[in-house]
């Protein structure tokens, strides 16, 4: 039973991390262009360099 004392908080914390990540992704517009993001990953254009 003592295992529960840390297993349950662990499960909850992991779930919460997932939820926070999802909400962050949603708010930062990651789901706005699902088609385009796929193409960007294989594009040769230097889209990944930091802006000057």
């Amino acid at each position: 039973m003592t295992a529960l004392a840390w297993l349950i908080p662990c499960a909850l914390a992991l779930g919460a991390v997932g939820l926070v990540a999802f909400i962050w992704a949603l708010n930062s517009g990651q789901f706005q262009d699902l088609e385009g993001s796929g193409w960007r990953a294989i594009s040769d254009d230097e889209d990944d360099k930091p802006r000057p």
Partner: protein
């Protein structure tokens, strides 16, 4: 869609800190038509960024839009559009983003869905342990702990995630109506409250898992519904945006500047080049030209308009550049009249009740009666009010219309995405349902059954030499007949050399002086030696010194698969009509060619509505397929409506769905998918009810455990979703009208 699409002024975030103080920047959203893949995406971004004054550009491939941030002092929107045009992309400024609110709502639902999903996963984790513990040796204290943890997770999650249902239910009750959200809200909130009470008492009747799972599944349905709406509206707005091209306005001092068509005001003088669409209703103040009004009146033949003549927005200028003065948009304009007719027509359709709401009207009272009966029944058997209430609430939880609420959205999503793949963009949320009910199809002629462009019909009677000479004149003109002559010549493999010094006289024809004398191509009156009596409408003559005049006859070419589509519809028992604003004989001919028996020509917009009303009065449900401005009121009045993407803006707005491409086949596909989807929605209702038929008696008898409640809920939801997915790949055939196979 991008939230930054909104037109607005922001600080120049991408210019260096030094520049930040004085540089202002604007963000504009552009609709780009032919963007298909990642390669287009990078070239569009590179092209926009290469324009001086543009600080950033980003493409949204799913939305087919590009947003650019630029310095309004150095560059304007038109310059960006021109730059894209040079790179081979047709672009236009996006219509005022009306869809933004919808996007925000979809995002909001997704956020609530995320929270509900997180809570559902954790509560199920705890619940499964408790269920397993009932079979083995879990002690009471551990079970109680797990129930308390579930309460702690589920209650705040439900309070947040289920708000859309609560709000909608309260709105419905305020309006003294019942919708699906009333039993949903009742089920969710009662389950939560009772579970909390039972947790306090330490019993096993705890339904947090069912309540949060229910919220999760229902939110999926709600989100899908919203997602379809956002996507359809975005696509429709893109189509409209691409059509509202800019206009060249002449100022008092004679300078010209480009403004968007929406910014035009009465009194402005607009220069319209040859081949351009006239952007406003107005009067010609300079020049004489031919105007193609096929989109407005359904008439295929261009009309000559001189100085002082009236032209309508949406018509195409064919022969000479003209200056048009925009007239006041008072009640006498054609557009205003059509808008009035549309408004009147739409009121008739406003009372349509969607399938899900009709189901809710039957279902919600039944649920509440069952719940009450359970309570009264157990009280009569002397079970005491607490146990009676517990069983009554169990009935409400079990009957909570989870599958019922998913049944329609799941089908809607698969049907819409299947149609999207076939080039049909569904705009109205209840369009599929109305489309499925039609038993009569009324077609417009020009631009709908026909391609809206004439072709040479007597090509075999014309020898190569005459055709080549006529084509050498025709190549200089944008008149539809000239284009048809040119196309016929090219189809024969004739190498067309443009004649020198061709002049075009609006309303008459073309002429060119050559070494062997003058050559002319035009109306009968324009050619020497042809009496005007010969020159019926729909023909051109070619005349040259030393040769007998040659006649060219034209037909408005019927879409290749139109006869097939009509035959299919008639075989399935649909009534098929052709109603057009064009001349009676032209309408008759097309009707014969595609195999329609009932046709009517020379019908005005209000006449079309009268015909639809007559059909409606005889008990028919009409699908109107049309493209012209003159069809718009009829499109709004009909039970359901479709219009090709080449249609006038106002018609596209009025239609339930827009189809793209050269073929008429999408009309058939739309009807097939609509009917199949309605069948499937009803199947889904049946599945949901079957689950209830099994579980409700159990609940009323007091045998439902939290495990059974969770299982019934999840399994029925999954079953209806899987059933809906079948529509994606199913082979469909047009079933007979009235449901007979």
């Amino acid at each position: 869609m991008d939230r930054a699409l909104k037109l607005g002024v922001a600080d120049g975030a991408f210019d260096g800190p030094a520049a930040r103080a004085e540089v202002r920047s604007e963000t504009v959203s552009l609709v780009v038509e032919n963007m298909h893949c990642g390669a287009c995406m990078t070239s569009i971004e590179r092209c926009l960024k290469s324009v001086p004054g543009v600080s950033d550009a980003r493409v949204n491939l799913s939305a087919r839009r590009a947003s650019a941030t630029f310095d309004p002092a150095r560059v304007d929107v038109q310059a960006l559009i021109d730059a894209l045009g040079r790179a081979g992309f047709r672009a236009a400024e996006a219509v005022e983003a009306r869809g933004d609110q919808d996007v925000a709502r979809a995002d909001d639902l997704l956020r609530r869905l995320g929270v509900a999903g997180f809570a559902a996963a954790n509560v199920m984790l705890l619940s499964v342990s408790v269920w397993a513990g009932q079979a083995s040796d879990m002690d009471k204290a551990a079970a109680a702990l797990f129930h308390w943890l579930s309460a702690l997770i589920a209650m705040p999650a439900i309070a947040y995630s289920a708000q859309p249902f609560f709000r909608s239910a309260i709105d419905a009750l305020k309006g003294r109506r019942l919708n699906m959200d009333v039993p949903i809200s009742l089920g969710i909130s009662l389950a939560t409250v009772m579970s909390f009470y039972q947790t306090l008492r330490g019993t096993s009747h705890v339904y947090f898992d069912a309540a949060i799972m229910l919220t999760f599944f229902l939110l999926i349905g709600r989100y899908l519904d919203q997602h379809v709406r956002v996507r359809a509206r975005g696509a429709a707005e893109n189509l409209l945006g691409l059509k509202s091209l800019g206009a060249l306005v002449l100022d008092e001092d004679g300078t010209a500047r480009r403004v968007s068509a929406r910014a035009l005001a009465p009194g402005m003088k607009v220069q319209v080049a040859v081949g351009e669409r006239i952007p406003v209703d107005g009067r010609i103040v300079d020049g004489v030209t031919d105007v193609d009004a096929s989109l407005i009146t359904g008439e295929t033949l261009p009309q000559a308009v001189g100085k002082g003549g009236t032209v309508h927005a949406g018509t195409v200028n064919l022969t000479r550049p003209v200056v048009v003065e925009a007239t006041a948009t008072d009640d006498s304009t054609l557009l205003a009249e059509i808008a009035r007719l549309m408004q009147a027509a739409e009121q008739g359709r406003g009372q349509y009740v969607r399938l899900a709401d009709r189901a809710a009207r039957q279902y919600a009272p039944a649920v509440h009666v069952l719940g009450a009966a359970t309570f009264v029944g157990w009280m009569m058997f002397g079970a005491g009010w607490e146990l009676s209430l517990t069983h009554a609430i169990a009935v409400l939880i079990i009957t909570c219309p989870c599958a019922l609420a998913l049944a329609v959205p799941a089908v809607q999503v698969t049907a819409t995405s299947r149609l999207f793949g076939k080039g049909v963009i569904l705009k109205a949320a209840d369009g599929l349902e109305r489309l499925a009910e039609v038993d009569t199809v009324v077609f417009d002629k020009t631009g709908t059954l026909t391609r809206g462009a004439p072709v040479l019909s007597n090509a075999s009677a014309i020898d190569d030499a005459a055709l080549a000479e006529a084509a050498s004149l025709a190549i200089a003109s944008r008149h539809p007949y000239s284009k048809a002559v040119l196309m016929a010549a090219e189809a024969r493999g004739i190498d067309v050399r443009p004649a020198e010094g061709v002049t075009e006289v609006p309303g008459s024809g073309l002429s060119a002086m050559g070494p062997s004398g003058e050559r002319r191509l035009g109306s009968a009156a324009w050619i020497d030696g042809v009496s005007a009596a010969h020159g019926g409408a729909g023909s051109l003559w070619y005349g040259a010194a030393g040769r007998a005049p040659v006649a060219f006859h034209f037909d408005d070419a019927v879409r290749a698969d139109a006869p097939d589509v009509v035959a299919n519809l008639r075989r399935a028992g649909y009534g098929v009509y052709l109603i057009s604003g064009d001349r009676e004989e032209a309408v008759q001919r097309v009707a014969q060619e595609v195999g329609i028996e009932t046709s009517q020509g020379a019908v005005r917009p209000d006449g079309k509505i009268a015909v639809l009303d007559a059909l409606k009065a005889s008990g028919r449900k009409v699908l109107m397929v049309g493209d012209g401005l003159n069809d718009a009121p009829a499109l709004a009045a009909a039970h359901a409506s479709l219009s090709p993407s080449s249609a006038a803006d106002i018609s596209q707005t009025a239609a339930d769905a827009v189809f793209q491409g050269e073929e008429l086949g999408p009309v058939l596909e739309a009807i097939k998918v609509a009917r199949a989807s309605q069948g499937m929605a009803i199947e889904n209702f049946a599945i949901a009810l079957a689950y209830n038929a099994v579980s409700v008696p159990m609940a009323m008898a007091g045998h439902v455990t939290p495990l059974i409640a969770a299982l019934a809920m999840s399994l029925s939801s999954i079953a209806v979703t899987l059933n809906a997915l079948r529509l994606k790949t199913a082979r469909l055939r047009l079933s007979l009208v009235g449901g007979r196979r």
